[in-house]
Assembly symmetry: C2
Homo-oligomer: 203 residues x 2
């Protein structure tokens, strides 16, 4: 029932990831299924198991691709900035670009953080490297803080992420309309102010 090498394994992988991306973007994680992905590629569901260990594996690879797209999105935002922009403006730009990406690609972005690895398993290096790259962007803009940069980068990254989570999943909407960009501004500006003040007091 099968002619030979209709598509190479690498092509199959790319087709499957593209199909899965479209499905998740349109219907959310709940709408994703092996049968739907396969149908969209014109293959049977079993074929996916030639290329992925299982659906979890496919999701993990899709998530790596999503983080790669996020990284590119952040790079573009920084590139649009005038050359003379200071660290604070660059950090604000990163933070807002993150929120924008989360909003525009809500379902794909959610999938990254809602996919729990099976108990005890560890994140594949492909994903871990992507996370490091993203956090590295923030750390780079905080270099002027010296030893505190690593801590500050994680706080700001987590903080902006938290704002995006609660704003986009309507978990704050219950308390009235939410101006997420204003929250992001407040977080980054006040935190940096506070960091500067703490450094002054210390020396």
């Amino acid at each position: 029932m099968a002619r030979k090498a209709q598509h190479s394994k690498e092509e199959l992988r790319a087709m499957a990831l593209a199909a899965a991306r479209e499905i998740v973007a349109a219907e959310g994680a709940a709408g994703l299924s092996t049968r739907k992905v396969a149908a969209r590629m014109g293959y049977a569901a079993g074929t996916l198991y030639l290329v992925f260990r299982n659906l979890d594996d496919l999701v993990l690879q899709l998530n790596a691709a999503t983080l790669e797209a996020l990284d590119a999105h952040l790079a573009e935002a920084l590139a649009r900035l005038p050359a003379g922009a200071g660290p604070r403006q660059r950090l604000l730009t990163l933070a807002h670009a993150y929120y924008l990406f989360a909003q525009e690609h809500f379902h794909l972005w959610s999938l990254v953080f809602e996919h729990h690895l099976p108990e005890g398993e560890t994140m594949p290096e492909s994903l871990a490297a992507r996370v490091r790259a993203l956090l590295g962007r923030v750390e780079a803009e905080l270099a002027h803080l010296g030893a505190g940069a690593a801590l500050a980068a994680r706080v700001l990254w987590s903080g902006v992420h938290g704002i995006a989570v609660l704003a986009l999943t309507d978990n704050l909407a219950a308390t009235g309309p939410v101006d997420a960009p204003a929250l992001v501004d407040s977080l980054v500006n006040r935190y940096l102010d506070g960091f500067a003040a703490a450094r002054r007091n210390q020396s």
Copy 2:
């Protein structure tokens, strides 16, 4: 096949929620199923639909109960504080108590934020009220900031939530060991410092 009123509807509801809570706590959201909940109560799966509209409805009610438990946890933490504790210490206590709850009841806490409502539907009032109560706790401690309290409460709440999400789902672990309580301390202290500084400059 059924004798009459073995349990009242209210009893059935409570039994189902208790069973679901145990399952989620032990196996995570993925382990939850109508058949497992029903089996644990000694009933058939169909019986659940006498009490809940569907599984989504059950999850929503479980989430409301989880937020109620979180609220109680925060109240206890504040109650253990000496009467003379200032707002900053009370906020730090709240933030650390939040993280501790998320860590101890990881699966139940995850379920609250990973459960997306079907497109267009709105959060049931039972849940919304719980969210408002929690955010109200934070706002109360920020009253001394005046008009900025609402904004600051949302920023701090989201920020602490974000730290918990990324730390507990290992999305930061890729970048080395994470001391989540230190991140929480840094966020709350620097943000409050920055807020105070901004108010000084303004007046």
